[in-house]
């Protein structure tokens, strides 16, 4: 393989369309679709006494109003995506609630009308008689279990899990120094700029269901719809067109609308669409990050970790559609890049009357990192040591890989770091940060993390050389902005010796590639990237074989360069890839540049039938890649901040990232992922707070009150890379999508703590929070 494209700052091939306003997002698709709207619970916890849709049905322009009673799957619990033996009390919602609602925003009825306005008018006429029930809103109150979210779940505990590596009791008892610490992290929201949307059409004549869905996993949506509606999978096509950011919560399997819109389209024989508005997005779309941690750490006088005991409560929200993946990730990621010789972690996953949780960029890791990094800062403070020095003394060394942590990972395997060089990350991040700026109330922040990326089970790809010489490539996973069309093209172009501009990529369209898992967990580059390399490699192999027959040479003597298959070092002895594509099909074509060169009368006659046993027509191949285990990316962030002692305004004076995601396919894209991740981290750490009141009402469900940062709040980020290739996959890549966000809370806490001299033990912060902390302190 030549490496002309891999590693280059290739500008994105998807930009032109998007820049001209020719992107195609789900809500851009109309095609005469009926429009719809959901009736949602205004209560966080209530029994439904009755639902009356008579008036709504009678409204002008209303086509249908559905409650659970009208749905053939109305009494079916939605699936638990990842069951786990420790999830003893998993609960999921039903498509439409008919007995009890357990969070504000839970869907109760679905209205289809000629227009969105009419649907919304009718939704207001749906009369639901609720009997309010006691509300459980914080993880602490859930754990106290004064009230239950589910009658049949004792103590509100969905799952409990304890893991231990080494012997924590004994090691703590033997530790010269011990400390107990408490850390609290609140919920956050991903808030992609495009809210969710679904469009569906049923073709009666073809018996075919077509669904456009702003999802991160169209292949799984297709699988679920096929089962639910009793259709063969080949009769269901699901397409994630352009998706305006995902960050995790656009994969849930299933949001109620993802079933209701296709169902209504099949019932009504007309296309139906649903587009979420921003206000409902705030409560209807999954959130994450609510966790409360009790920590006990044992260490010696040099600041070396001897034992770590972590006990935390995870706020699941009202249901557990994602099983216990989030607390498992936290449990696996707390030790981070440090040697923790004795580690015990226990969690309880508890129900609250809030929106369900599922991974949001970082997924269990920002809180894990916060716990570990804050703990190290406490050790440094107690021993009056430099914070960097404490880290230096505890880092896993480059010769210790593969490094086994001793606890379980989200894929069921053990947590084993494949490769890395953590000391270099730390030293570079310190060097790049440079000297401390002058002035008062300046603080330096520091944080390190590892990130398990590239989880399986697999992704696949199909690559075909057309008779024009152009290449088409497809994979099951969609892009929400991660430049898949560019980076997959880079990988394929290298394998086939063509130009990136000649490779056209499709992702997230089950018509083009029906198998796959989804875009999440920083897994695209590892899984789909390697699948692209596998499939393109198979095509290259086939091209060499066909060309070898044609040129009467040994395939081993051939190489793919410049759109040709040629004898190595003799560009004049070769054949265009376009012509090889023609030769690959015993029925030759009437059109196309390669046709003449490839006519059967000039080709060397091969003995036997035109298609030999085991051969397939077409210069194409389908390949899969299934990772043996996760790859572990890592990084270090450092910063200087200034906090105004009067207004508590935060000024980030400098922010440095040193990042290792193995071999970098496209630095432009990876840097964009990091810059975006850090910005999202800054928002989550200092500006964005989901303000739930004691009744479970989200008091700031709009962009006016939920303060996402604008450019004015986000500094320039200085990025540097190191590359420790993953030994686990052929491309040597690790994931990069979530890295930027993970340590930001810990890093800013560390910096603000130093700037103001008050201990920071919780997230998110805000000027008001800092004011209160300083006031309590003095």
């Amino acid at each position: 393989m030549t490496t002309r494209w891999f590693g280059a700052r290739v500008q994105r091939v998807e930009d032109d369309r998007l820049l001209r306003g020719h992107g195609r997002f789900t809500d851009d698709i109309d095609d005469g679709a009926l429009e719809s709207c959901l009736v949602r619970s205004p209560y966080a916890h209530a029994r439904i006494r009755s639902i009356d849709v008579t008036a709504a049905r009678a409204m002008p322009g209303v086509i249908a109003v559905y409650t659970a009673a009208e749905l053939p799957f109305g009494q079916t619990d939605l699936p638990i995506l990842i069951p786990h033996p420790n999830l003893t009390h998993g609960r999921t919602q039903r498509c439409l609630a008919s007995e009890v609602v357990r969070y504000v925003g839970e869907a109760v009825a679905f209205v289809v009308a000629e227009s969105r306005c009419l649907a919304e008018d009718a939704a207001e006429m749906v009369e639901v008689d609720y009997e309010p029930l006691p509300v459980v809103i914080t993880p602490e109150s859930a754990a106290r279990a004064e009230h239950l979210v589910h009658d049949d779940v004792p103590g509100n505990v969905a799952a409990e899990m304890i893991q231990e590596a080494g012997s924590v009791e004994a090691a703590l008892a033997a530790s010269p120094r011990r400390k107990r610490l408490h850390f609290r992290f609140e919920r956050g929201a991903a808030c992609p700029m495009e809210a969710r949307a679904v469009w569906a059409r049923w073709s009666t004549s073809e018996r075919r269901l077509t669904v456009y869905d702003s999802t991160q996993s169209p292949t799984s949506i297709r699988g679920g719809l096929a089962v639910l509606f009793g259709l063969p999978e080949s009769s269901v096509e699901v397409i994630a067109p352009d998706v305006g950011g995902g960050f995790g919560p656009k994969i849930m399997l299933f949001y109620p609308d993802e079933l209701l819109v296709p169902f209504a389209a099949m019932q009504l024989g007309r296309p139906v669409k649903w587009t979420e508005d921003r206000q409902e997005h705030f409560t209807a779309v999954n959130q994450e990050r609510g966790q409360v941690h009790e920590v006990e750490v044992g260490f010696d006088d040099e600041g070396k970790l001897l034992a770590l005991d972590v006990d935390f409560v995870h706020d699941a929200g009202a249901y557990t559609p994602y099983g216990i993946i989030l607390p498992i990730i936290t449990a696996g990621q707390v030790p981070g890049p440090y040697r923790v010789p004795n580690y015990r972690v226990r969690f309880r996953d508890v129900y609250t009357n809030a929106t369900p949780t599922s991974p949001y960029r970082g997924a269990g890791r920002p809180h894990a990192c916060f716990v570990m990094e804050r703990t190290l800062d406490r050790i440094a403070a107690e021993l009056a040591l430099d914070r960097a020095e404490v880290r230096r003394r505890n880092l896993i060394q480059p010769d210790q890989f593969p490094y086994e942590v001793g606890v379980a990972w989200q894929d069921g395997n053990a947590v084993v770091y494949d490769s890395g060089n953590y000391p270099v990350l730390l030293e570079k991040a310190l060097a790049n940060l440079g000297p401390r700026p002058g002035g008062d109330h300046v603080g330096m922040g520091l944080g390190m993390y590892v990130e398990g990326t590239g989880v399986g089970p697999y992704e696949g790809a199909h690559v075909q050389v057309l008779v024009s010489g152009k290449v088409v490539a497809a994979t099951g996973i969609p892009s929400q902005g991660q430049a898949h069309a560019t980076v997959w093209a880079q990988i394929v172009a290298d394998e086939l010796g063509v130009d990136v501009a000649d490779v056209e990529v499709t992702g997230g369209d089950t018509r083009r590639f029906p198998w796959g898992v989804g875009t999440f967990a920083s897994r695209g580059a590892v899984t789909a990237g390697n699948a692209m390399a596998v499939a393109a490699g198979m095509v290259a192999e086939k091209a060499r074989q066909i060309a070898a027959d044609h040129l009467e040479v040994d395939p081993a003597d051939l190489e793919l360069v410049g759109g040709k298959v040629q004898v190595k070092g003799s560009p004049d002895r070769g054949i265009a890839l376009a012509a090889v594509a023609v030769l690959a099909n015993p029925v030759r074509y009437a059109f196309g540049g390669g046709t003449e060169a490839a006519t059967q009368f000039t080709a060397r006659p091969r003995p036997g039938p035109p298609l030999h046993e085991g051969e397939q027509p077409g210069l194409e191949a389908t390949g899969y890649y299934s990772p043996p285990a996760s790859t572990w990316a890592a990084g270090c962030h450092t910063c200087y901040v200034r906090v105004d002692p009067q207004t508590f305004r935060l000024e980030i004076l400098k922010y440095v990232v040193v990042h290792d995601c193995g071999r970098v396919i496209n630095p432009l894209v990876v840097e964009g992922q990091i810059e975006g991740g850090v910005a999202q981290g800054i928002g989550g750490a200092f500006y964005e707070r989901l303000h739930y009141d004691s009744e479970g009402q989200l008091r700031n469900a709009s962009f006016m009150e939920f303060l996402m940062p604008y450019a004015t709040e986000i500094p320039a980020i200085e990025i540097d890379h190191i590359e420790t290739p993953s030994p686990l996959n052929p491309l040597g890549v690790k994931g990069a999508g979530e890295a930027g966000v993970i340590p930001v809370g810990a890093v800013l806490a560390s910096a603000i703590e130093e700037a103001l001299g008050v201990p920071i033990t919780e997230m998110p912060l805000s000027p008001l929070k800092l004011f209160e902390l300083v006031k309590t302190r003095s």
Binding site: R20, G21, D242, A711, I714, G740
Partner: protein, 151 residues
């Protein structure tokens, strides 16, 4: 009202938002709706050359004015407008949902300040939210656009 140089009849529904009118009546779906309450800037269009939020205007309010949407910045056959080109070169977009709004805000900004200072850049784009890029690449794109516009 004139949209991208073409005259269109008065919208039939007086309650129709300009954003919905552009998207769903005229099929100009490059104008995006991210919040529908005037904060995100995804729906930004130019009204007589100045950036406005089309989700905060009724379509009828645009009567007698010239609206430019992202589709009107460069015709399909033409090369990208300098601001679009700069966003491409600087990786100023990821998912592309906020992008039309940003591009039109920047067109407005450069009309006022052809050579903006870093502060003017931040101020000029501080009415647009982007959840993907972290803004750094967008800032670079604005400076690059200023450069390209002067060539």
């Amino acid at each position: 009202m004139k949209v991208n140089g073409v005259v269109y009849p008065t919208p039939a529904d007086p309650r129709r938002l300009l954003s919905d009118h552009l998207r769903h009546d005229l099929g100009l779906t490059g104008t995006h709706v991210g919040c529908e309450h005037g904060v995100c800037g995804c729906c930004t269009v130019l009204l007589d050359g100045a950036p406005v939020r089309s989700c905060l205007l009724l379509a009828v309010q645009a009567e007698g004015h010239e609206v430019t949407t992202i589709e009107g910045l460069a015709s399909d056959a033409a090369p990208l407008h300098p601001v679009q080109q700069a966003f491409h070169e600087c990786h100023g977009l990821q998912c592309g949902f906020c992008t039309p709004g940003f591009v039109l805000s920047v067109v407005g900004l450069l009309a006022q300040h052809p050579n903006p200072t870093p502060e003017q850049v931040d101020e000029g784009i501080a009415g647009n939210l982007c959840r993907c890029t972290g803004y750094a690449s967008i800032r670079r794109a604005v400076h690059r656009a200023a450069e390209l516009s002067q060539k």
